[in-house]
Each structure stands twice: as C-alpha cells, then as structure tokens.
C-alpha cells in the first residue's frame, strides 16, 4: 500500500501476528510506551475492521562472524533491527465513533469514544503527541467515509534525520546537526567574502610573509649571533665583534619592526573587510526576519533561535578577525619550524616529534577541563548576578516584608557556591600549569642533553643547538592554539549554520504565485468551518462559522482563552488555518495578495507598539507619504491631537525605546491614528480599551466610533459596554460560536450573553458604578 511513511518489516510482522493483514492496513503510528506505561516500542494501526496495538522492544543487533582459528566471534558492522514481541491487543473498529488524543503534563493518551463513553487505548510520551493526533485524525476521516489523502496533507513529519535518526533541533526546519553538510555551510560562509577577493589575497599574502619572517628570525637572532659573533673561538678583534653585534641587534630590531608593520597593515585590511561581511550577514538575517510569519517569532522552538542570531553574527566576526589569521599563522609556523628543525638535526627533531602528540593531548585535555570549570563558574556567577538584580528590582517588596536578612543569607549561599567554583578554578590552574611546565621542561632538558652530546662530538654548533631550543619553545604556542581552536571553529560553523537556517526558512504564510487582488473591496467577512491549533492535539478554534456583512460591526465576547484573539489573527492572516477558511468578499484570503490583506485589515490591539521615531512618523507608519494635514486629521479623529500638542516637541516628540513615555491611553490614541491613516476596509479592535480606565475608555471610544464609520468592524472585548453599538454579537467559548444574534435577540434568549451581561452589571453595581 502507498503511504508516505514506511512500516518496518519487524513492526509489520508483529502486526500480522496480531491478526492484521499488511495489505489492508490504512494507517499506523509508532508509540513508545507499553500498556503499563513503561518505555517500549509500540505500534498502533487500523484497517477497516480492527485497531491493533502491538508492543515489544526493538534493538539494533550487530551481526557477528566467526574468526579464523578462534572460538570468539567478531562484529561485522552490519546492524539489523531485532524485534522482541511482548504483547498485543485489538479492538473492533466499529466499537468507536471516534478516536481522540488527551494531553497530560508529560504524556498523552489515545482514547476511543463511543456514545460519550471513553476507553483508553494506549499511552505515549509527548514526543509522539503530534503523530497520535494524526492517527486519530486518519481514523476519524475513514470512519466518516472521507478520503484519507485529504487529511494526510496536514500530517506531521517525524522531526528526526532520516539518515542518522537524530532529532532535528527545530522540527520545522529539517537540518540535522550531525548530517548537515558542513562543507556547504563553510562554502557559503566564505562566499560572503566574495566581493573582497583582492583584499583577502593581500591579507593572506601578508600573513604568509609575516609568518615566514617570524620563523626565520631565530636563524639570525640565535644561530648567527652565537656561532659568528659570540663564539669564544672567534679570533676577530673586539671592535669588529662589537660592530657585528650591533649589526645583528639592529637587524633583529629591523626584522621585528618590519614584521610589525606588515601585521598592522593586514590586520587593518582585515578589520576593514570584516565589518562589511558581518553587515551583509546581519542585513540578510534582518530581511529574512521581516519575511517570516508571526509563528516564527512566537514559536517555542524558534524563540531562542532569534535571540541568538545577532550573537551568531558576532561569533562569526570574532572568529574571522581573531581566530582565522592565527590559524594560518600558527599552522604555517608549526610546519615551518618542523621543517627547519628537520634540516638542522633530524635526530633531535625525532625526539620533539615524539613528544609533540603527548603535549598536544595534554593541552586538549586541559582545554576540556578548563571549559567545564569555567562554564560552572560562569553559571554560578550568572545565578549570583540574577539574584543581585532581583534584589535591586524588588527592593521595595523586600523592605515591605522586612526580608533583608533572609535575602542576605540567600545571597551568601549563592556567593559561597561561586567562591567554591572560583577556588576550584584557581586550584586546578595552580596545579596544572606547573605540571605542564615540568613536562615541557623535561623535553627541553632531554633535547639539551642529547644536543650537548652532539655538540661535543662536533655534529652541530652551540648556536645551532640554542637555535633549535628556541624553535622548540616556539612550537608551544601553535600547539596550544591549535588544540583548542577546533572548538572555536566548530562554534563558528554552528553559528553560520543557524544564520543560514534563518535566511533559508520558508515563511509559513506565503502568497500564491497567482494571488488575486479584489478591486473595490467591500469588506465582507465570511468564516467557514475554521479550525486552528498552535500545538498538536490542543485545538484552539473548532469548526467556527461567522459572517459579518460589509460595513457591519460584530462584537465578539467570551472568556479569556476562548480563542477571540486567534480569530483576529486568522482574519489578518498572521497564521493559516488548519482547516476551513476565511473569505474576504467571497474570496479565500489565501488566494489574495498579502499586500491587499495587510492594507485592508487594520488591527488595534491591547498591546501597542510604537516604533523608535517621532509621533508623526509613528502615525504615518502605514503610509509614509501621508501629508502633515492628513497626519493631523488622523490625530484629531483619534482624539490624540490635544495631548500631542501639550508635549514640548509636539509631533516631533520622540517615542519608542528610549523616547518620551506616553501613558497607555495616549499610546492607544496614537495607534488609532495610525490605523486611521491606513484607512482599512476591515477593522479589528482586539480589546483595544481593555487596559484603560473608564474615563480614558470613553475618550477612545469616541475616536473608535469615528474610525468605524464605513468599515466592517470586528470588536473583541470582555467589557460588554464596549460593544453597545454592535450590529451583531457572537459569544465564543472553547473555539466555537455558542451564541449569535443582535443585542435584543440575545437579551431575550436569556442564554450565555445574558448571563455575562448580568454578571458584569452586578459587578458594576457592586463597586458602585453603572445604573
């Protein structure tokens, strides 16, 4: 049978053993718990007659083969999954009207429902939640005689890498940390330097020359100096020796100076290129972020991704500025020195090369230890700083409850822990460094000893031996650096990968290539059988139907969490529905140009965001070409003009982060003015005045009433008085419309709306407001 997922042969055999016919199976899901709730490998499948559950344990068994002349076997490397069946159950499919998934704190349960009676089928951990939800959907569709293919399109894909089985860090993006093509990431990373080829060539050339000079310097500074100038057997007059010495010193100084100049030039060049490269990267990220849908920002998985992006760009920057030049320098130095040493004395070089891996390994172990100790110190320090800032922010509360002593004690505990970590770091450093030095010293002594013998036998000169030792010393730096730079490089590639992930992410709300544009939009909204969920198995909107004729005002009331704001987001197409659709003037909004939707649907919500800039900039945000007269007209219509004129800088007052503080009501009026300038056909007021006092609300209400004229309005509120002027009202509960009608109709019906009305009227009386 054809499915988008394969059932493993073992699972198929188990299901068949439980009575299923593999050819008849319609859909299945892999679970991870047995009926006792212990970890196990389980499969649930259904055909037209039965639902099957089998469980057991699946393990990869390595095939072994017999060795020659031995009784032992050895692994061949080939692994085959082996399934051990532990049990099975079946239920007649006709026993259930539908299947559903229940979600608990850390597990879920597949439940069969017949006439309202619930039967538990199987439990699973939350990682399987989405797939069991799909399974229930598949069963319910087949039960209702619907096409499986139609629902299957909405099914989730396993968020694991098909190659290695590792979970994707982000289920929405199929990038496996293990199998992802590191090479292509590196290639793309270097592609950012494409525009700076000449400069890069100069920089690399500079690094090469400066390294070469650095490697050759000891030949003069030590070799020549000892053998030709400071040699005791030298018979030349003192005068000329001093001159020679002076020349050597000057030459060394000259070389160093020359080298330094070179370094300054190429570091300058590099510093000139890198900000541009990082600028390119950041710009690309920022553009990608603008393109992405709201879910990208609200998604739990991606939240931290966004936080890290700027840091990632900096990571890349620092590696290229502070790391890469030294990788080249150190790598070349290492090779150069070894080559020179080989030429000078292959015997002594052999000793050094023998010790090198050991030193390298020790550096590597130390690095890992350092990392662990420093990380712990960092975590404890962060904990302590958090406590300090907590205390500063909560100073009033601490004093009010006179908890100063307890807070001090709490801080003392955290501080002591930090101190412990600090002591451990120092102690380890204090022990490890001398030990490493001792080891290096031992190698040096060995070389000096052996070299001394060679000097006595006149196989090499003193100068050569000393030069050799200097080179040996010069090896340590590159060895240390190269032992830990690989981690740095790995972090840089990780960062690059995340950056490319963001750049490559496809927005989940996309415009169709043949998207239409309605001329003369009237603003009629029709919502049919709308379904939506933020998380699998937690539906927020359930088969919702609503109709708002053009120019009408619909009031939506309901409890917190009933799904009101989600409806608004779906109309504005910030998300796409799971099933059903929103129609604007009879056209599915998914077939419309996004620009038309955004232009024609205005949202005034409870949380107002003002951008950094002047009040006037903020008002004309939707239409930057609006004239000053239009801005003032909008501000007047929004009852914002008066308060704006009271600000010293009037329309030029800077607001947003770091700007003038406006009160909630003032900000709301600016946002209403912004929407007036946008002049949308459909207006969504999402609890626009919820956070305001009655006086302010009344002012804003007037502004809103002016704004609503000639527009289709969807007003969401929990304060019923806000919705007095609605043509129709809808009561939403649990993602469904439970009541719909005009105000008199609903009051007469004495249903949900009436109940809400009563509660609020009483509450108002209780606090002495209202009539």
């Amino acid at each position: 049978m054809e499915t988008n997922r394969r059932l493993s042969a073992g699972a198929e055999a188990l299901l068949c053993a439980a009575g299923a016919d593999a050819a008849e199976l319609i859909w299945w899901v892999k679970g991870d718990m047995d009926p006792n709730g212990d970890f196990a490998d389980a499969w649930v499948a259904f055909d037209r007659k039965e639902i099957y559950l089998v469980w057991g344990s699946e393990s990869l068994v390595e095939a072994r083969e017999k060795r020659l002349f031995s009784r032992k076997t050895r692994p061949t490397g080939a692994r085959t999954p082996v399934l051990r069946a532990e049990g099975s159950r079946t239920w007649p499919a006709e026993d259930f009207d539908e299947l559903k998934c229940e979600r608990y704190v850390a597990t879920g349960r597949l439940v069969g429902v017949k006439d309202g009676e619930e039967v538990s089928l199987v439990r699973y951990t939350l990682s399987r939640n989405a797939f069991f939800d799909d399974f229930a959907k598949a069963f319910n569709a087949v039960k209702k005689g619907e096409e499986l293919d139609a629902v299957r399109k909405t099914f989730h894909e396993e968020p694991v890498c098909p190659t290695c089985g590792m979970r994707y860090p982000d289920p929405k993006r199929k990038v496996c940390p293990k199998c992802s093509d590191k090479k292509s990431t590196v290639r793309r990373l270097f592609a950012f330097f494409g525009g700076y080829k000449k400069q890069v060539a100069v920089v690399i050339g500079g690094i090469l020359i400066s390294t070469l000079i650095g490697v050759l310097t000891p030949q003069i500074s030590t070799g020549y100096l000892y053998d030709n100038v400071l040699n005791a057997d030298n018979a030349a007059p003192v005068q000329s020796l001093v001159t020679a010495l002076g020349l050597v010193v000057l030459t060394i100084f000259g070389i160093k100076l020359f080298n330094l100049l070179f370094r300054i030039v190429y570091m300058h060049l590099l510093a000139g290129i890198m900000p541009w490269v990082v600028y390119d990267i950041k710009l690309k990220i920022f553009k990608a972020m603008q393109r992405l849908g709201v879910s990208f920002y609200t998604g739990k998985q991606t939240g931290s991704l966004m936080e890290r992006v700027t840091r990632d760009a900096d990571n890349i920057y620092w590696f290229f500025v502070d790391g890469l030049p030294y990788v080249i320098t150190n790598g070349l130095t290492l090779i150069g020195i070894l080559a020179i040493m080989l030429v000078m004395s292959w015997k002594l070089t052999l000793v050094v090369v023998g010790a090198t891996p050991l030193i390298f390994a020790v550096f590597k172990v130390m690095d890992r230890l350092w990392h662990r100790l420093h990380h712990r110190r960092w975590v404890l320090n962060a904990n302590m700083s958090n406590m300090v800032s907590d205390n500063i922010n909560g100073a009033r509360v601490i004093k009010a409850f006179s908890r100063e002593d307890e807070e001090s004690e709490r801080f003392a505990v955290a501080s002591r822990k930090y101190m412990g970590a600090e002591v451990r770091v120092s102690n380890t450093e204090g022990t490890a460094y001398p030990l490493i030095n001792l080891m290096i010293y031992a190698v040096t002594t060995l070389v000096l000893g052996l070299g001394g013998v060679m000097v006595i036998r006149e196989q090499m000169t003193v100068g050569q031996l000393l030069t050799f030792v200097v080179y040996m010393d010069m090896l340590l730096g590159p060895l240390d650096f190269l032992s830990w730079v690989s981690n740095w490089w790995a972090r840089c590639v990780d960062s690059a990968q995340r950056v490319f992930e963001v750049i490559d992410t496809e927005p989940d709300v996309t415009e169709k290539p043949d998207a239409a544009e309605i001329e003369d939009l009237r603003g009629e909204i029709d919502i049919r059988e709308l379904e939506f969920e933020y998380e699998p198995a937690r539906p927020v909107i359930k088969k919702l139907d609503l109709h708002v004729p053009a120019g009408h005002m619909l009031g939506i009331v309901g409890k917190t969490g009933a799904g009101k704001t989600t409806i608004a987001s779906l109309i504005a197409r910030l998300y796409d529905a799971k099933a059903g659709a929103v129609y604007l003037d009879g056209v599915d909004i998914r077939d419309l140009k996004l620009s038309q939707i955004r232009r024609n649907i205005g949202v005034v919500s409870q949380d107002i965001f003002l951008f950094m800039g002047t009040v006037a900039d903020n008002i004309r945000y939707a239409r930057p070409d609006a004239t000053m007269e239009e801005v003032v007209a909008a501000a007047k219509a929004a009852s914002a003009h008066d308060f704006i004129m009271k600000l010293p800088d009037a329309y030029e007052t800077r607001v947003g982060a770091g700007g003038q503080d406006l009160s909630g009501g003032e900000r709301q009026r600016v946002s209403i003015a912004r929407t007036i300038i946008q002049n949308p056909k459909v207006l969504i007021l999402d609890e626009a005045t919820a956070a305001m006092d009655t006086e302010t609300e009344r002012n804003i209400q007037e502004a809103l009433t002016r704004l609503q004229r000639g527009r289709t309005t969807l007003a969401i509120a929990h304060r019923l008085s806000t919705l007095r002027d609605s043509d129709e009202l809808a009561v939403i509960d649990d993602g469904k419309v439970v009541e719909y009608g005009t105000y008199p109709e609903l009051m007469k019906k004495k249903g949900e709306y009436f109940k809400l009305y009563q509660i609020q009227a009483e509450a108002l009386k209780y606090i002495g407001v209202g009539d």
Binding site: G37, F39, Y104, V105, A106, T107, R109, E117, E118, V119, S120, R123, T125, L126, S127, N129, M166, R167, P169, V175, P177, K178, Q301, S304, L305, R308, R372, H375, R376, V379, L380, A382, N383, A414, K417, D494, Q497, R498, Q758, A761, E762, A763, K765, Y766
Partner: protein, 177 residues
C-alpha cells in the same frame, strides 16, 4: 435589578474554604473502561483528573481532584490519609499524568546548534533526548534532585546527583547552580 444584586458573590468565608476533601468521604474506583472515578460523599464522578499542586517538592500532598472539564471538586491534603487500595489507584493516575522516568546514568551531553543532546539510561532503557535553553530546562529541586525537561515537554528526573556514578555527575555538573 435589586434581586440580581442579592445573587452577587458575597461571602469571604467561601473564599477561605479551600475545599479540602475528607478522606473518609472520598472513594476512588476504576470505571468499567479503566479510568479513575470518584465518589465524594453523595456525588459520583464517572471520570476525574488528579493534579499535583507541588509536582516537584511535594508530589504526594495537595492533590487537586478535577472533573474532565477542569472544575476542581476538592483538594486531597495527603495521599497517605487514604486507604492503601485507594492510594494505589490515585498514584497510578498521577504516575500516568506526570510520567517522569528516573535517569540512572548520563552517557553524554553534546551541544549541537544550540541544542543539548542528552544520551541517558533509565535502568536498562537508553534514550537520547534534546534540551533547548538549558538554564531553564534543568531545574535543581534541592541539594540532590534535578529535573530536566526536553523540547517536547517530557520530564526526566535525576533523583540524587550524588548517587549516580561520578562520570555521569561530571557531565551534568557544569549546568547546575
């Protein structure tokens, strides 16, 4: 409107009564389909949920008994006040809801692209799970116990960090505070 005023919620005494259940009046049983049900005094609830008020610090005390709509029927002060058979039923239900297997060894913790992959053992079972935002996902409950929440929301518990082997402890130690 005077009569509606009289119906307004009024008594502070109602607020003070947090609805502690009398263990003698509370009787759990399994309904024919295997779900937990309860009789509280005269009223019979065919299926109920249990929720812990202190899921980590005090998992056996302060258990809220709710109907399937999430309305609280009452609070059990301590599971130990129930008869052993009753306790068993309640514990099974809690176990199912708060599935939290105990980690016995940590084989490795690796960071890949901002996620931490934990390769751990639960007795004989081995599992790899991914953790995001490590400072928030690893909760140190007291001097010994550590709770880890993975990307899916599944929870794992290290009952005593000092009781697991040293190799495992050294792997988790850098993330504790």
């Amino acid at each position: 409107m005077t009569e509606t005023l009289a119906q307004a919620p009024s008594g502070a005494e109602e607020v003070l009564d947090i609805g502690i259940l009398d263990p003698a009046q509370t009787e759990f049983y399994r309904n024919p389909n295997g779900f937990l049900a309860v009789r509280i005094g005269e009223s019979d609830h065919r299926r109920v949920k249990l929720a812990r008020m202190l899921p980590f610090a005090d998992p056996d005390r302060y258990i809220s008994v709710e109907d399937m709509e999430g309305k609280e029927l009452g609070i059990l002060r301590d599971l130990a006040e129930l008869a052993p058979e009753q306790q068993k039923l309640a514990r099974e239900e809690l176990e199912a809801r708060y599935f939290c297997p105990a980690v016995t060894a940590i084989r490795s913790i690796k960071e890949k692209m901002g996620y931490f992959y934990f390769d751990v053992s639960f007795g004989t079972v081995q599992k790899v799970f991914a953790v995001k935002d490590i400072s928030r996902s690893i909760k140190q409950l007291d001097d010994k116990a550590v709770a880890i929440t993975d990307v899916d929301g599944s929870r794992y518990l290290i009952e005593d960090v000092w009781a697991i082997d040293g190799k495992s402890r050294r792997k988790i130690e850098p993330y504790l505070y």
